[in-house]
Symmetry: C2
Subunit: 318 residues, 2 copies
């Protein structure tokens, strides 16, 4: 019997959804930390991220549906056979990550991390002027589902929104100006807020260099909810320590977990969250992932193309 | 010569605005901490809050234009003669305070204060599930300028917004449901977010009792950007310590500055900012205050009623 391995913390209703999409198939369920080589070996379909090292044993694999938006771990040479159809969960995280990014943005504008520190020291002391999202020019670097969701929220709060994406396209609603990412250096000097949500690919690695932080306004706030690899860590540290930008917030770092002795931890004007913008921390995200998986499974079994196939060259949805 | 005392940190352009509104009058300028009894004694108009104790010597005073929205300090018996026209700066703070309140709301929903604490301890650790403003029912208690600005932002982010105000009125745009404040107890159990922005009046004193915190959802977040007097401090402390509500954020406390030994400081699920939502921390606020003062001055000199006269009985704009 053809086997589908589901490596997700599903409840019964999720099983029902998935099994309804593939009548006649045998479903195996496992948690990511408990999945066995034997389960992997027999599966023609795997739903959910498994350790890249386990992939080599997936000799029957034809469809691999990730629960993540990022596919970088599986795109490295030799990890996944070329004939396996790889799908991601693009879209599932947009609301969670965009809202987390907006919360970080407003927290920086209103200096909430500094006030939290003051609170912990029992000190009632004002920390100077603040800025307004309504008056801000917000540069969204990476206008995929997450970037667009964030852009629309910023726009709804009154911001002027400039979007950057890899490929030219029609300007979506909620974005005032749209450019391709190669215009980054021209646009950084205009931005009061830079919200970056780029996937981890060779092209995005170390995009944010010392030079680029210097192109930003000294009053700018920089928020990274994409991949830590997009930022040169030492350049960010220096830009913050030297006041080249006002403040930053990162949900992702080059090394994760961030090592306990990293100099980033103690920067007063940097807010760090431990890669929690996405995940399943907003319960709706998991529901969306199961929905995407069930839909893609049905399309694939029907001989059609799933909606979130990853382009192995770019790491993006095709 | 008729004298106007301006107790504000004005620049030349502000002086030009004010003086253009009252040709032929003599203008005196002082900073709040430097104002003299002699300056106060001769002024028919005072623009800017001065210490209530100085008011007794303002024998010529006819128009008193506050730079604050709250007028509570001047409404106590014996402070201000009944024949003095009292105006506040309602409207000047709406953007600053509403945005600060929204930043606090999202910070609580995304657990940013907990992550800041983790950062300070160099700990990379997830802190569990988060909530979404888009899915929230937001109860705005006090639907004046600030409350309405906040309501509209919450609505723009997808929330269901329920507004409460003292007097019945037409439901404004950006509010899904409107009730009078006496319906508070019915509505607290429905709210995921409670944003309170009530002025300090006898009616609002200790509105938030232990009973009312118990009426809130255990998952609710409570944000107070009005006056600290609206909250029974011990009831808030207990509600947070016992998990009767999920989290709270306050920009105001019953005693200000909050005493160093207050038990509020160390509540992990409480975020405290030191009465900075308003003030002049958003530079635009000060521009708005000067604009209101100039407009009111011109109206008053023209024999008309200024736009922000305070009702001495309620403490609100008439």
């Amino acid at each position: 019997m053809k086997k589908i391995l589901v490596v997700l913390p599903v409840e019964q209703r999720h099983k029902d959804m998935l099994e309804a999409a593939a009548p006649g198939w045998e479903f195996l369920y496992a948690l990511p930390e408990q999945v066995s080589a034997e389960q992997v070996a027999g599966a023609e379909v795997i739903i959910g991220n498994i350790a890249p090292a386990l992939i080599a044993g997936a000799s029957e694999l034809r469809l691999f549906q990730l629960n993540s938006a990022g596919a970088d771990a599986y795109l490295k040479p030799g990890v996944l056979r070329e004939d396996v159809l790889l799908c991601n969960a693009t879209g599932a995280y947009s609301k969670a990550v965009a809202e987390h990014g907006l919360a970080m943005t407003l927290a920086l504008q209103k200096k909430l991390p500094l006030y939290r520190d003051g609170q912990n020291a029992h000190v009632w002391r004002a920390r100077g002027t603040v800025t307004s999202i309504a008056d801000a020019t917000v540069l969204v670097v990476g206008l995929g589902d997450i970037g667009l969701h964030y852009a629309r929220m910023a726009k709804a709060l009154g911001a002027t929104v400039v979007g950057l994406k890899r490929r030219p396209g029609e300007k979506p609603e909620g974005v005032d100006e749209l450019y391709t990412t190669d215009r980054l250096d021209e646009l950084l000097p205009r931005a009061d807020v830079i919200f970056s949500v780029l996937p981890g690919t060779p092209e995005t690695t170390h995009l944010y260099t010392a030079e680029r932080f210097r192109l930003m306004k000294r009053s700018a706030v920089f928020v990274n909810c994409g991949r830590g690899s997009a930022v040169e860590t030492e350049a960010l540290r220096r830009a913050l320590a030297d006041g080249e930008i006002a403040a930053a917030a990162v949900d992702v770092t080059e090394d994760e977990p961030l090592p306990p002795d990293s100099p980033l931890w103690d920067l007063e004007n940097l807010l760090i969250t431990p890669h929690v913008a996405g995940g399943y921390f907003l319960p709706e995200t998991f529901e969306r992932i199961v929905g995407i998986a069930a839909k893609n499974l049905a399309l694939w079994l029907d001989g059609k193309t799933p909606s979130t196939v990853v382009d192995r060259k770019t790491g993006y949805k095709k």
